[in-house]
């Protein structure tokens, strides 16, 4: 049975686990390298990317995580998770990203907490209905590499969701809403990987 892990170092991992369990997906929390062996895909949740970046190194998760990803294990990053997946974080050395997705991101790109917002966002890949996107001290994608597909952008053109092969990343938090379409989309990616396609 396909098992989706959620990186449980810090952040709203419990919210992701709840969404997956309600969908009937088998889940597990990933805190140590040994936990990583048992999962077919991994979600990096929202949280503080500085904290997650540090804790990834304390228990030496970084290299096994990057290795599994390069072997094709699907990853889904939301907000801080998007920052962690990026190739580069602009003007910021407090986060060391995993460098898996060919994007440049800017942290806290909209300002401070009082600038956090909700917006109905078109995400054509998951259907015609707009997605109820929650942006909390959110990052944006400011540069997109050739192999990266833009999945959603704000009205002003700023990119807030991308896919590159087996990696999916959003600047917003699908786990805070009742809309499970992006989680379903990711679980399909994980199942496809499990079938060896």
């Amino acid at each position: 049975m396909t098992k989706v892990g959620v990186l449980a170092l810090q952040g709203d991992f419990a919210e992701h686990l709840l969404v997956l369990r309600r969908m009937g997906v088998s889940t597990s929390e990933v805190r140590l390298p040994a936990d990583l062996v048992q999962v077919d895909g991994l979600i990096i949740p929202g949280g503080e990317s500085t904290t997650i970046s540090r804790l990834v190194d304390v228990y030496e998760l970084r290299s096994p995580l990057v290795q599994r990803a390069r072997e094709g294990m699907p990853l889904f990053g939301t907000c801080a998770g998007l920052v962690m997946l990026a190739r580069e974080v602009v003007k910021d050395n407090s986060v060391v990203p995993l460098g898996l997705v060919d994007i440049q991101v800017q942290r806290n790109a909209f300002g401070r907490q009082t600038d956090s917002f909700e917006a109905d966002l078109p995400v054509p890949a998951i259907g015609p209905e707009p997605f109820p996107a929650v942006f909390i001290r959110a990052p944006i994608v400011c540069q997109v590499g050739e192999r990266v597909e833009t999945m959603a952008a704000l009205e002003d053109g700023r990119v807030v969701a991308v896919r590159q092969g087996s990696f999916l990343a959003t600047a917003f938090h699908p786990e805070l809403t009742q809309d499970t379409r992006l989680h379903r989309y990711f679980v399909e990616m994980v199942k496809a990987f499990g079938r060896g396609s």
Binding site: D12, E48, V58, S94, D115, S116
Partner: protein, 293 residues
């Protein structure tokens, strides 16, 4: 596009879960906290142990101090206002802090009323000693709750008491049939609809951190195992002999709170923790947790 919605306010607290929020009084402290892996900092004029020692009236910190800390770190910055002092809260919102703690650690400005927090764009966290107090604060608009504990003592006993009180009452509400919730809401002094939500969710409707007396990695893990979503550490970091090492250790113990070997590893060679106070030796007027209602 809509800002300051309930989902956005409560949502930031959800992003802080599993993390440690550290009290800091200077930009240098804030940098140490960020590098240690703190998920947010609380910008203060003095840490609670020093507020306790100084006596007198404790007020909101100098906005210049808070701004200098906001300019130093990229993680969220919280700041405290006095209970009921809605103008201090307006000032903190105006300078752009990410969260306001309407805190019993400062001297209350109003002994009857807390701030009506719904009208603010910035979210609030408030202290509690039991479920009724937690839900009264949520009713006023608090988007995050923490235990009061007894700040500035380095003694975990009150935080444990308050967390157990909240969790016990949640378990009790969960087991009640619908018709008993009305009387329970009356007994708790909390709105019925919030009591109904607690029954449905099996937890508080907002994120619930532990605070007030956390001094060691094991203290942090204890509060997590008792059901806290994360931990505030006040005086415990910067009143210890090696703040950098202790800050890192508390962060690790909070993440790996269910892993005794990891807590043991994090606890090694940290030097002296902050000096502690026996809460039973404090006079009633020296207790901070009894401020607010």
């Amino acid at each position: 596009m809509e800002t300051a919605t309930w989902r956005v306010k409560a949502g930031l607290a959800q992003m802080l879960k599993g993390g440690v929020i550290m009290d800091v009084v200077t930009p240098e402290h804030a940098k140490i906290a960020e590098e240690a892996g703190a998920c947010a900092v609380m910008a203060l004029e003095r840490v609670p142990a020093d507020i306790r020692a100084a006596g007198g009236v404790a007020r909101m910190a100098d906005p210049a101090r808070i701004v200098s800390i906001m300019e130093t770190v990229t993680i969220p910055v919280m700041a405290k206002c006095r209970i009921g002092h809605f103008v201090e809260a307006q000032v903190l919102e105006a300078i752009g802090v990410d969260y306001i703690d309407e805190s019993e650690v400062l001297t209350p400005a109003d002994e009857s009323h807390h701030i009506w927090k719904h009208t603010f764009k910035v979210p609030f966290v408030c202290g509690c000693r039991d479920l009724g107090e937690a839900l009264r604060r949520v009713a006023e608009g608090a988007a995050m709750i923490r235990t009061k504990g007894e700040a500035g003592t380095g003694n975990i006993v009150e935080a444990v008491r308050h967390m157990r009180a909240v969790m016990d009452e949640i378990r009790k509400v969960q087991g009640m049939p619908e018709e008993e919730l009305v009387a329970e809401a009356k007994a708790l002094g909390a709105p019925l609809e919030l009591v109904q939500q607690v029954k449905e969710l099996g937890r508080l409707p907002v994120v619930n951190f532990a605070a007030g007396g956390v001094a060691t990695p094991a203290d942090a893990a204890l509060m997590m195992q008792l059901g806290a979503d994360g931990v505030f550490v006040g005086s415990g970091i910067f009143k210890s002999s090696d703040p950098e090492a202790r800050a890192r250790a508390v962060v690790q113990a909070t993440t790996h709170y269910n892993n005794p070997a990891a807590i043991a590893e994090a606890s090694k060679g940290l030097g002296e923790p902050m000096p502690g106070l026996d809460v039973r030796s404090l006079k009633p007027q020296e207790l901070l947790a009894t401020r607010g209602w």
